[in-house]
Amino acid sequence: MTDTLKFLVRAAREFRRGGWVFTGFHWPVLAGQLAARLRTAPGEPGDPTETEFVQCFEAGAGVWGAARLVPSSTTDYPSYADGLHYVAESGDVLLALARRFDRVVLDAANVDLRGRVNSSFIGRREQPTVRLPGGGGSADIVARATEVVWLHGGDDPRRLQARVEHVTAAPPADALVRLHCRWGVVRLGARPTLDQIVPDADGAEGFATHLAALGVDVTRAVPCPDVRPDELAAARAVLVDAAERGYDVAVRALREEREEAAQ
């Protein structure tokens, strides 16, 4: 549970750097909500004028501040309608604005050293072993991005691979591409590097070993900056609300917490 919370806090900091942030499904939604909550006082409604970042969704939305409810997805319009001040079409966001976003933050279930993701098929396309959901707007937005932040919240280091089997989205060669996971931050591209590591995270050593075997330079990693108690508390509150809003990862994390407490 703690590793998950710290991961979420670090992901939220990518939003708190400010600017216009394209926000994808799943972990990015939760990270965006955490960032927005940390920006406003507890119990206070989000003040749009005090928000240092704007989240944009592929449906054609620009949202200021924290949502009324944790959005069950970026297509959960009523949950964030109060902060919806830019209304557009998907084409505006995915085609016309893609190159202008300060950052693109997306979920990555399967990612490779070049920063490419597979969210389409495992196995042959004609009859896949596992049919994944498909890419939605990820290919459009990533292809024009200047900075991509992939979020992987899972606990299987093998989801970071030398080369994904099918490529759903591929960043341009000159984009800054980083992967946040529970064990640290990896810079992806022609010369992949482990930039930051979370030394006390469960499995961090195994992750570094996995990266080294893939040819990633792990020698220059520095410890991730500390996470404050108030950030952890806010992250836990987001996960509690996210569990109510149907997020499997939140339900799982809270169950783990209960099990840890019982031991």
Binding site: S72, S79, S90, L94, P133, G136, A139, R144, D248
Partner: protein
């Protein structure tokens, strides 16, 4: 301009073999999909940007001849769209699905709206959309004196069912929330049916703002709760529990059939 009940609109505008766009991006017209199922439509070519559970239910009910979409899953959870997944993993989806990145999807509708054969789109080098032809023959590179460009073929649905918050008797309609590809779909389709939460006076629509002009609308249906279990801005929230119940039920074929019987086939639209 016709004001119809939902069963009447589905019967009139979506016959067997029709190419049917179902909106909206995140406020999906489940009521239209369910009526298509109840009316036993067959051989539909379904066009839906964010596939979601609506497309999954149409796959499961056996209505779909082909599907053009951006992705297909339950955004709540998130969880697989189990019918879609079973179909693909059995090999039965091969050749029947046209998978487009959503930017290309909107460009295809823009071409259709402007009565052009295709629209140039940003290339996606290295992705399966290009290297493995996931769009299924709909994208290629053309050479022109102005340079080369990847293009996507026009999308022209026979009918677009579009969700709106308000509509008047002349078809002028107000959409609340992000627009997705909905307006383009209404412009591209040969016919457009607005399914509105409320049919109101023209003055009320004008006050709220016209998103879809009556000029491109052929019929209006008043149907409160049209997008449940999705949410409608200012009216009702997404029903997360219903999403989860469906995901759980549809994990198996038998579970899906039971769900379909109790939630769709045993229910009727009020005329």
């Amino acid at each position: 301009m016709s004001s119809l009940s939902l069963p009447e609109a589905v019967a009139a505008f979506a016959p067997d073999g029709a190419r049917v766009y179902l909106g909206n991006f995140g406020a999906q017209l489940f009521c239209v999909g369910h009526e298509l199922i109840r009316q036993r439509r067959r051989e539909l070519d379904v066009v839906v940007a964010s596939g979601g559970l609506l497309l999954d239910q149409l796959f499961g009910a056996g209505l779909v001849r082909s599907a053009t979409f951006g992705h297909c899953w339950s955004p709540v959870g998130p969880a697989p769209a189990w019918n879609f997944r079973r179909l693909a993993e059995s090999g039965a989806a091969a050749g029947r699905i046209h998978e487009l990145p959503l930017g290309w999807f909107t460009a295809a509708l823009a071409a259709g709206a402007q009565q052009l054969p295709f629209m140039a789109v940003p290339d996606l080098p290295g992705t399966g959309y290009v290297t493995e032809d996931w769009p299924g023959g709909r994208a290629l590179v053309v050479e022109t004196p102005f340079g080369s460009a990847r293009v996507i073929s026009a999308e022209v649905p026979d009918v677009a069912f579009v969700h709106a918050d308000l509509a008047d008797a002349a078809g002028n309609a107000t959409i609340r929330g992000p627009l997705g590809e909905t307006v383009l779909a209404a412009q591209a389709a040969r016919a457009t049916v607005v399914v509105a939460e409320a049919l109101v006076s023209t003055a009320e629509v004008l006050a709220a703002g016209v998103t879809l002009p009556g000029l491109i609308v052929d019929a209006v249906v008043e149907r409160p709760g049209a997008v449940r279990p999705d949410g409608a801005v200012g009216r009702y929230d997404r029903d997360v529990a219903a999403y989860r119940r469906y995901s759980s039920a549809s994990r198996t074929v038998d579970g899906f059939r039971q769900w379909l019987r109790t939630e769709v086939l045993d229910r009727q639209e009020t005329p």
